[in-house]
Structures are given as structure tokens and as C-alpha cells.
């Protein structure tokens, strides 16, 4: 009974991981780290091209970067969750074949264990691909929108307001888009 419970709980655990919106600590650190870096990159543009003074504008840079970090990492998580299921469906066959090939010689492994392993591998691969693609997609969109807003739409604004609105609106926009279900 205890072993069955353990086996069930292990399967449940994998399923829970698969369908859960929660990310692991490692993923969290990865998301926040990437979000911070990509949120800080526009500071270079505003310092060198819009001639914002680095020292006097540092409180503003800090506040907006932190806000943007939060919103971008939110976008990463939401996008990853949506992508994960799509990737899982696409990779299922290939992963099954890969696992079958790996355990072909191992006669001791039963079908249940094989299925567990496939499920685990599928979760891992879909998690990995969804994470990397989510980071790439949101970074590209964020930087493109920042450049579009600050150098075209908001170019007549003063540099400080330009920074606040371009970075703030860009991170807000990608966070909003990430909440879509498709």
C-alpha cells in the first residue's frame, strides 16, 4: 500500500509538474536573472543617445528596471506555461522513440516504468524548450517595442518621460500579451 502510494504520488508529482503554473527555484532564478539583464539594457540607449545623466537619473533607472524585471519575468512564466503543452504534444513521439531506443536492451524495465520515464523526459524537454523559447520571444519583443516607442512614438518627450513610458509600456505590453491563452 505504501509503495503504491509512493508510485502514485510519483506519477502525480510528474503530472502536477506538467500542468502546474509554478516554476522551480532554478527556473525562477533564471527568469529573474534574464529579466533583469534585458530590463537594464535600454539604460545604455538612454544614457548614450538620449543623454540622460547616469548619476542623477539612477533612482529612476532603478525603479523602472525593477518594475520591468517583475513584468518581464511574469511574461516569461505565462508564455512558458502556454508553450509547454504545445511542445509536449509535438515532442511526444520523438521522446518515446528516444526512450525506447535507450531502454531496448534493458529487459528488466516494465511498461509502467517506461511510461514514467517517457513522461518525465517529455516534461523535461518541453520545460526546457518552452523556457528557452519564452525567454527569446519575450526579450525580442520587449527590445523591439522599447526601440519603437523611444525613437519613434515618444521621441519628442523629455528623456526621463521617454524612459518611463517606453520601458514601462513595453514590459506592460509583453506581460499583457503573455496572459493570452493561444
Amino acid at each position: 500500500m505504501t509503495q503504491k502510494q509512493k508510485a502514485l504520488s510519483k506519477e502525480e508529482e510528474i503530472l502536477l509538474q506538467d500542468f502546474s503554473r509554478n516554476v522551480s527555484t532554478k527556473s525562477n532564478a533564471l527568469f529573474y536573472g534574464n529579466a533583469f539583464i534585458v530590463s537594464a539594457i535600454p539604460i545604455w540607449l538612454f544614457w548614450r543617445i538620449h543623454f540622460m545623466d547616469l548619476l542623477t537619473s539612477s533612482p529612476l533607472f532603478l525603479i523602472i528596471t525593477c518594475l520591468s524585471t517583475y513584468l518581464v519575468s511574469f511574461a516569461y512564466k505565462k508564455t512558458k506555461f502556454v508553450l509547454k503543452h504545445k511542445v509536449a504534444v509535438k515532442r511526444e513521439d520523438a521522446i518515446s522513440r528516444e526512450i525506447s531506443k535507450m531502454i531496448a536492451e534493458d529487459k528488466k524495465m516494465n511498461k509502467k516504468e517506461k511510461d514514467e520515464r517517457v513522461l518525465w523526459k517529455k516534461n523535461e524537454v518541453s520545460d526546457y524548450e518552452a523556457t528557452t523559447f519564452s525567454i527569446f520571444y519575450n526579450n525580442a519583443l520587449f527590445l523591439a517595442v522599447v526601440i519603437g516607442l523611444s525613437f519613434f512614438l515618444l521621441k519628442s518627450f523629455s528623456p526621463s518621460f521617454n524612459y518611463i513610458f517606453s520601458v514601462g509600456l513595453s514590459s506592460g505590453l509583453i506581460a499583457l500579451l503573455s496572459t493570452g491563452t493561444k
Binding site: 534574464n34 539583464i37 534585458v38 539594457i41 545604455w44 540607449l45 548614450r48 543617445i49 538620449h50 543623454f51 515532442r91 513521439d93 520523438a94 521522446i95 522513440r97 528516444e98 524537454v125 526546457y128 524548450e129 528557452t132 523559447f133 525567454i135 527569446f136 526579450n139 525580442a140 527590445l143
Partner: protein, 207 residues
């Protein structure tokens, strides 16, 4: 024969009268004009122009001074002085703000160019330069005149100008280099996994 003689006499008379009339007109004109030119002293028209389209802090401004002598005599000892650009606000980069031109013949002009560099930004009123000259050789007193005034101009801060016009190529390149890891790395990782599993699928299909 009689007709020919009559025609000849008429022709000679006419020729003589016509000639005489022309000579009289020329003499009268010469006397009139010669008398007037000698009487008109030199008169200088003086203009001051700013040749720049943009006035920028720390960048050159070209000022052109033009003198036109519309009088009948040469203007002598022409002294041009522009005291409107104080050393605390402007630096003279080329030319001089005080020049002397020995002689400007009647009906001719002279130009002088000065290049200055503003050290501050803000609104600046470009006022007139001064000229003094002797209107004739025997003139006892020099005449003093002022140039035209270009008027108020806005000297913009260098940052504004640079922000508007500089291509910032190096800065954009640096931005691209900084953005690459955030874009290329995740894409490369995703792509490698994608191609790996797509290859597995295609291998099986081929078999």
C-alpha cells in the same frame, strides 16, 4: 549734272549738322557727369550676416561682414569693429573682430568673415557692428556707421544638437552586442533541442 551737284551740297551740309549736334551732346553730358562724380563723397552700406543654419554651443558660427561703397569717391581708412561678442561668452576661432581696410573704391565692395565659438547656450541678441571711414581724401572727420542687426538667435546646447543629428553608430553597435546574448543564446538552445527531436522523427519516417 546739276541734280548731282545739289545732292552733294545737301549731303555735306547734313553731315556737318549731324556731327556738330552729336559733339554738343557729348560735351554737355561729360561736363554734367564729371562735375557730379567729383562732388559725391564715399558712402558705405554695411551688412552683418550669420551664415549658420544652426547655432550650437561649442560649435563654430560664421559671421560675414559686407561693405558696399555706393558713393562717388573711395572710402579711406575703413575700420570695422565688432564689440558684441564678449570673451566670456565667445571664443574667436578664425579671423579678427577688428579689421582695417585701406581703401574701398567707389562702386565696389569688401567682405570680411569671422568664425566664433559660443561657450554657453541660450538666447543671444546679435547686434550691429561699427564702421568708421574717411569719405574723401581731404575729409577731416571720419564717418561712423552701424551694420545691420541679425537679431536674436537661440544657441542650443550641444546635447540637444547631438541627440538630434548624431548617428550614434558606435552606441548602436554596442547596444547590439549587449543584446546579442539575451537573444542569441536562448534561441540557440531552443533550436538545438528542436532540431534534435525533429531529426529523430524524420529518421524514423525514413526507416
Amino acid at each position: 549734272m546739276a541734280r548731282k551737284v545739289k545732292r552733294n551740297i545737301a549731303t555735306v551740309s547734313l553731315f556737318t549738322m549731324d556731327n556738330w549736334l552729336k559733339i554738343c551732346i557729348v560735351v554737355v553730358f561729360a561736363v554734367a557727369t564729371t562735375g557730379n562724380e567729383e562732388a559725391t563723397p564715399a558712402k558705405l552700406l554695411f551688412s552683418k550676416q550669420i551664415l549658420n543654419k544652426y547655432l550650437v554651443e561649442g560649435m563654430d558660427i560664421v559671421i560675414k561682414y559686407s561693405l558696399f561703397n555706393v558713393g562717388g569717391t573711395a572710402a579711406l581708412d575703413v575700420q570695422v569693429a565688432d564689440n558684441t561678442f564678449g570673451p566670456q561668452d565667445f571664443e574667436v576661432v578664425g579671423g579678427q573682430l577688428k579689421v582695417t581696410i585701406d581703401r574701398i573704391p567707389p562702386g565696389s565692395n569688401a567682405t570680411h568673415v569671422v568664425v566664433i565659438r559660443p561657450s554657453k547656450y541660450g538666447y543671444f541678441n546679435f547686434t550691429a557692428a561699427e564702421v568708421s571711414y574717411l569719405p574723401s581724401e581731404d575729409a577731416a572727420e571720419a564717418l561712423v556707421g552701424l551694420s545691420s542687426e541679425p537679431g536674436q538667435g537661440a544657441i542650443v546646447p550641444f546635447k540637444e544638437y547631438d541627440r538630434k543629428f548624431s548617428p550614434h553608430l558606435l552606441d548602436w553597435l554596442s547596444f547590439a552586442v549587449m543584446s546579442m546574448p539575451s537573444l542569441v543564446l536562448p534561441y540557440a538552445l531552443w533550436y538545438s533541442s528542436k532540431t534534435k527531436y525533429e531529426a529523430i522523427l524524420t529518421q524514423k519516417k525514413d526507416k
